[in-house]
Amino acid sequence: MSAVTASPPELSPARLVDMLRMMMRIREFDQRALELYREGVMRGTTHPYIGMEAVAVGACATLRPGDRITSTHRGHGHCLAKGGDPRLMMAELLGRAAGYCKGKGGSMHIADVDAGILGANGIVGGGIGLATGAALASKLAGRDEVAVCFFGDGALNQGIFHEAANLAAIWRLPVIYVCENNQYAMSARADRFTSVPDPAVRADAYGFPGGSCDGMDALAVYSAVGAAVARARAGEGPSLVVCVTYRYLGHHVGDPLNYRDKAEVEAWRAKDPIERLRAALIERRALTAADADAARADVEREIADAVAFAKASPEPDLATLTEDVYA
């Protein structure tokens, strides 16, 4: 097992601050989503990304606008980090006409194909083949775009990973498999349900680089994914980057959470990715504590605004029921 090591471009202070702000935005978004769910104004369910913000933000910071991502059921963070509009997302959570999907998709199907967001996905592993196919399209068209595929430790055991990884390897496709190892797939502990202690070794089975990084550290993610992106863009093929992280909250709002103990959660919370980047930026003098607080306040306003936008949007017209089944 060998990770890619080339380092991606140095991040400017302004970009770093943007990343911190984005992590705050994601957390705030998901916190409000939970509240809306508990208020009863949201249907289905919502899978909070809280605790994992460094992964989406670190990974997406390596991308260009023309690059693509595929996301998961736990997709709000990926979507925001790749440039999704929180207002259209929030409206979608409320099933409104102004939502990204005109109310037809909900949390698990938010997408913005023009922004390179090929969608959240209700199928565990569902995005793996899509990202690989998008990478194939880029390669066929001679465009130097890459595709980043976010997926969980649970998705790693789906057959599609094996098939897609083998294909990406033999075809040297510009795809980066970013495995968010948040330790659990619902109640299934990664260390019991995946047959190897470090899932990154699975890359060896396909002959491409694989490595793990600290998924609670946006800069570590940025480096690891950035190196893989550079490799992919240079035509050298796929990589697997395992980001070791944790979901602070339940799998979704209905999680009984009887499969892990509080001490474990606390230990991970102590490594909070937002606090960590904030502290690092303050140390580097990229930011003052007051700036950080102001950023948080901005983000809160922004998300409150998104909620207001969502609530003001009308319900979809019933006539839309049969629209957009076919192009």
Binding site: R43, E92, G95, M108, G159, P316, L321
Partner: protein, 338 residues
């Protein structure tokens, strides 16, 4: 449903939820037959057993060998069940949502359904493939499908769709005891519905429908939730003097055509209703069979009230519009009698 909920349990029965009834079936069969085991995602640890509570407490009684939490590997769950069944076990494989069975069609359809026939009758595949289907909770297009028609299409599979707690228990026990692969489809909106359930060894034979309500004017064949909605429609229509005869086929393969045809011969009118997409759904099959058998008895063209031919939308208003509802049954019945 409130009528059922408040109803007294007849002797020998208890009022249980549909989920509890399924749980009881699993528990009793696992006690009775050591070859029976359960595998699926989050069936053991999560919340003490199953996302919908169907396997609740089973791991405590039977241990993690017989109540096996699996990784997220639907194709393997199905394929291992087939292999285990051929080697003498009686697996009950669970798929958290029927939508995820799209990943498991190969072993179910090419292997389980065909092995006995392909092998000249010299093998058995006594596996149960359980899943829940249906819409109603805003789970959107990839978590709300009702795919029973696919399985009904494939010879070699039996297909079961209980609508009440008692049937849930009795049919699941029969499915486990059956020597054939059985696709056992539950409905997510039924898990919390209540009804009287016989204690002990209660079986409902596969292939026998139940007349849930007698009526002279229109035969309504419903699947899952649509049985309950048809009964509600019948209540409303009774006031207008329109009598629905509501039939729950309970198993779609084998299908109790006799009971349906006998009813249609009496009523002369047929409504078939299910949540699954209308096109190429089971409703078409029921109509084709009734028309072939009792064309002369029909006073009006049979009517389908089914899921719209659209992916199930998320928004509550759209989702409700995509599904057949009590109002629609009432309206269709009035129209048929007009």
């Amino acid at each position: 449903m409130s009528a059922v909920e408040t109803q007294q349990a007849p002797a020998g029965t208890r009022v249980l939820t549909y989920a509890e009834a399924l749980n009881e079936a699993l528990r009793e069969e696992m006690r009775r037959d050591p070859r029976v085991f359960v595998m699926g995602e989050d069936v053991a640890v999560w919340g003490g057993g199953g996302v919908f509570g169907v396997t609740k407490g089973l791991v405590e009684e039977f241990g993690p060998e017989r109540i096996r939490d699996t990784p997220i590997s639907e194709e393997a769950i199905a394929a291992l069940a087939v292999g285990a069944a051929m080697a003498g076990a009686r697996p009950v494989a669970e798929f958290m949502y029927a939508d995820f069975m799209t990943l498991a069609m190969e072993p179910i359809v090419n292997q389980a359904a065909k092995i006995r026939y392909m092998f000249g009758g010299k093998a058995r595949v006594p596996a149960v493939f359980r899943a829940q289907e249906g819409a109603g909770r805003g789970n959107a297009a990839q978590h709300s499908q009702s795919l029973e028609a696919w399985f009904c299409h494939i010879p070699g599979l039996k297909v079961v769709t209980p609508s009440t707690p008692a049937d849930a228990k009795g049919l699941l026990i029969s499915a486990i005891r059956d020597d054939n692969p059985v696709v056992f489809l539950e409905h997510k909106m039924l898990y919390n519905t209540k009804g009287p359930v016989p204690a002990g060894d209660h079986t409902v034979p596969l292939g026998v429908a139940e007349r849930k309500r007698d009526g002279r004017h229109i035969t309504v064949v419903g699947v899952h939730t649509m049985v309950l909605k048809a009964l509600q429609a019948a209540d409303r229509l009774a006031a207008e003097g329109i009598e629905l005869e509501v039939i729950d086929p309970r198993t779609l393969v084998p299908f109790d055509l006799d009971m349906v045809v006998a009813s249609v011969r009496k009523t002369g009118r047929l409504i078939v209703t299910h949540e699954a997409y209308e096109r190429c759904g089971v409703g078409a099959e029921v109509i084709a069979q009734v028309v072939a058998t009792a064309f002369d008895a029909l006073d009006a063209p049979p009517v389908r009230l089914c899921g719209a031919n659209v992916p199930v939308p998320y928004s509550g208003a759209l989702e409700a519009a995509a599904l057949p509802q009590v109002d629609g049954i009432v309206a269709a019945a009035r129209q048929l009698m007009a």
